[in-house]
């Protein structure tokens, strides 16, 4: 009875023994530490900027840039503002990233699957490629492709023609292309649209055939129609221009892919694909041997076993690490700067050098790469969800 009042009042010892108190307390302390660190760094930055007589701000982005850029998707003149120059860089980065992701996926999956090939040469080739490329720094590979491979191409006067459709010289690669940018976008959109439509039709057809055992003709016809429509748009609608060699060197017409772009893309794709190949190999190996054997028992040949039974299951293991490879490719694209490809990091470097505002420019850079990587993650997470086991 006497001690009763003591237990109701604040009991420090009991509280210190209580696990719940410590859980909350550590959260609070962690938060405080993070805030403290953040305020310290920001305060330090601010002091240093003031010491140099500068104020943080982004208004300089509206000043004219004054430098020229070698290649650009959008209209750009040297007296355009810095933000527009950065947009040009972003556009160039995107061409590298999008092209890189598509080609990396294809090459990586092929190389990964090839490591299971019964063909001795193909299998060894895949292993040598992965072992070699994974162990050489990307920057070296960029220089290698730029100087040793594409630099070894002849000068425009002695350029190499490929079947009269494409040309190669040490300035770049010239390929047939739509006569205007609008038509090119139309062609790409048509290709993507047709691919998606075909995928859905194919799935629908398979579903119907599984459920009813017959049928699917309507879907087959629709597939053929999509294919024909796509072919028609691509061959007739694009108003193709074919590059033509000029007397004495040089090329007119077609699309010029600069040597900087082609070398950057090649290096990035070869480098990232080696990692993708290993991911694909790991994914395929993760599928139990029983699945292979069961599929063979059903009478499927090796190609069909891979395509219909093993690979769809391997995707569950493959997709999450693929996400980080795509992000690596995106971030590594900034190295293309070293071989003069005017991607966003290159433009940003010029910008902060001319304006003396590294902090602001790096904030823009970080935001840009963060956004790109988050976008990739969101898309890949969606894709990942669609191939995981549906638990009911």
């Amino acid at each position: 009875m006497v001690h009763d009042s003591g237990s109701r009042s604040f009991d420090l010892k009991a509280m210190l023994r209580d696990e719940r108190f410590w859980k909350i307390a550590f959260q609070v302390i962690t938060l405080l530490v993070v805030l403290l660190l953040l305020s310290f760094f920001l305060g330090n930055l601010n002091r240093n900027l003031i010491q140099q007589g500068r104020a943080f701000g982004f208004s300089f982005l509206r000043n004219p840039a004054g430098f020229s850029i070698g290649e650009s998707l959008i209209q750009y003149r040297p007296n355009d503002p810095y933000w527009r120059a950065l947009m040009v860089g972003l556009g160039n980065t995107l061409t590298l990233v999008v092209g890189g992701i598509v080609l990396t996926t294809v090459l990586g999956v092929v190389a990964g699957v090839a490591s299971f090939s019964k063909n001795w040469l193909l299998q060894k080739l895949s292993r040598v490629y992965v072992g070699l490329v994974q162990n050489i720094p990307l920057l070296l590979q960029l220089f290698f492709w730029y100087f040793a491979i594409f630099g070894a191409l002849p000068n425009p006067a002695n350029q190499i023609g490929v079947l009269g459709l494409a040309f190669l010289n040490n300035r770049g690669v010239y390929i047939p292309w739509a006569s205007s940018a609008l038509l090119a976008i139309l062609g790409i959109a048509a290709t993507v649209g047709a691919a998606i439509a075909a995928l859905f039709l194919w799935r629908w057809r398979t579903k119907i055939r599984i459920e009813t055992g017959v049928g699917g003709q309507a879907q087959s016809i629709a597939l053929a129609v999509v294919a024909l429509a796509w072919l028609a748009i691509i061959t007739l609608g694009m108003n193709w221009t074919v590059p033509e060699g000029v007397e004495g060197g040089g090329v007119t017409g077609g699309l010029r892919l600069s040597r900087e772009y082609v070398a950057s893309l090649t290096a990035l794709v070869f480098y990232t694909s080696a990692f993708v190949a290993e991911i694909v190999r790991a994914g395929i190996q993760s599928v139990s041997k029983g699945q292979w054997e069961a599929a063979r028992t059903l009478g499927l040949n090796a190609g069909m076993v891979m395509r219909l039974v093993v690979f769809p299951q391997a995707l569950r293991v493959i997709i999450p690490p693929m996400n980080s490879q795509y992000m690596n490719l995106t971030k590594n694209s900034s190295l293309a700067f070293a071989i003069a490809f005017p991607e966003i990091y290159s433009i940003a470097t010029t910008t902060y050098n001319q304006t003396g505002r590294p902090v602001e420019v790096f904030v823009v850079m970080m935001a840009t790469y963060l956004t790109l990587c988050l976008l990739i993650t969101v898309v890949m997470n969606q894709f990942n969800r669609s191939v995981q086991f549906k638990e009911r």
Partner: protein, 352 residues
């Protein structure tokens, strides 16, 4: 419980990191950098000058096989080290490319730049630099292959020009070509070595940079005779050492050591004959060499700082001749870089 232990350890570490850095900012070496000026004291305390150079331009700053730095820019670093520390060799060189030089300087990683940096108003004001006197008056030129048939800038329509990024060169080129209405393709490299390599193997018809640099770099190309400089000067390029804003005592030191080199040549004092000035009757020279007055100590330097500079490095004329002038492989004319009394632009305010 294990998780708590980890958290506590992390907490301790962060607090330690925090406590170590709350009062001063630190540079790459972990040395305390002053909050408001005082780089001179930092250099004295360290006993060594950290000087940002290019390191790839023969005649200006170049590292040879044995790792020794030579060149006109390097000699400016040496002169400052001799003045402040009494030892021209007490210099640590940092090779900086054109895009990282200003951040390295404003971040306190180097004490000064002596690196082919053009004095411009925007760098002086918005980038926040202080430019010591010009040590080399230059102009932007264009290097082409002799057999290319290119005679002037108009011939570059549709052709490619290699250029190093982060330079005034990049902007001047654009300006000139806009003025002429010539549509060219810039191929912009971060690294000068890569830019010259790309030019050499034919990626670009032209390579543009400061004329002195083009002359120096041509000498390192596989076949120097196959390349010539066009007869164009696209800009004024006054090159000199650089410090940061808001540290005037340090800026004064770099500025007056540079002037001292020019003044020494004007007085006719060389590393050879400086001994003969020990008992000079000329009050100007006596003050200059620290025999009279307090010109050195007023600046926080030994009063005979110029004696150290001249004995160990020489005067401006000697530095010029040794590195890029008559006694070097480049044999550049003094031209604009002669003393004002000889028709050039080199002029020092009085040491008084």
């Amino acid at each position: 419980m294990r998780k708590w232990g980890f958290l506590a350890a992390a907490l301790g570490l962060t607090l330690a990191a925090c406590g170590g850095g709350t009062t001063t900012t630190t540079n790459a070496d972990g040395e305390a950098a002053p909050a408001g000026g005082g780089r001179l004291d930092v250099v004295k305390g360290r006993g060594q000058l950290i000087c940002g150079v290019d390191g790839g331009i023969p005649g200006f700053s170049f590292v040879d096989e044995s790792g020794t730095y030579t060149g006109l820019d390097v000699d400016i670093c040496k002169a400052v080290a001799a003045a402040v520390l009494g030892d021209a060799e007490a210099v640590e060189y940092r090779r900086l490319d054109s895009t990282e030089r200003f951040t390295a300087l404003s971040g306190g990683e180097v004490d000064m730049l002596s690196r082919n940096t053009t004095w411009t108003i925007s760098r002086d004001t918005s980038v926040g630099l202080e430019f010591a006197p010009t040590t080399f008056f230059d102009g932007q030129g264009m290097l082409v292959r002799t057999d290319s048939g290119i005679a002037d800038l108009e011939d570059f329509a549709g052709k490619a020009i290699c250029v190093e990024t982060g330079t005034t060169t990049e902007l001047n080129l654009t300006d000139q070509m806009r003025q002429l209405g010539v549509d060219f393709e810039p191929v912009v490299f971060q690294d000068a070595d890569a830019a010259y390599a790309a030019y050499d193997e034919g990626r670009c018809e032209g390579m543009t940079s400061d004329k002195s640099q083009l002359v120096a770099r041509r000498s390192t190309l596989p076949n120097p005779d196959e390349h010539t400089l066009l007869e164009v000067t696209m800009s004024k390029e006054p090159l000199g050492p650089v410090t940061t804003n808001n540290d005037s005592s340090w800026y004064d030191v770099v500025k007056w050591v540079t002037y001292g080199l020019i003044q020494a040549e004007e007085f006719g004092i060389t590393s050879e004959n400086i001994g003969t000035f020990e008992a000079t009757e000329n009050p100007d020279i006596a003050r200059f060499l620290g025999q009279e007055g307090t010109l050195g100590t007023d600046m926080g330097l030994p009063n005979d700082f110029m004696v150290q500079v001249i004995t160990q490095v020489g005067n401006y004329g000697e530095v010029y001749d040794r590195n890029v002038g008559a006694d070097s492989e480049f044999a550049l004319e003094r031209g604009q870089n002669a003393l004002w009394s000889e028709g050039g632009l080199m002029y020092s305010p009085p040491f008084r």
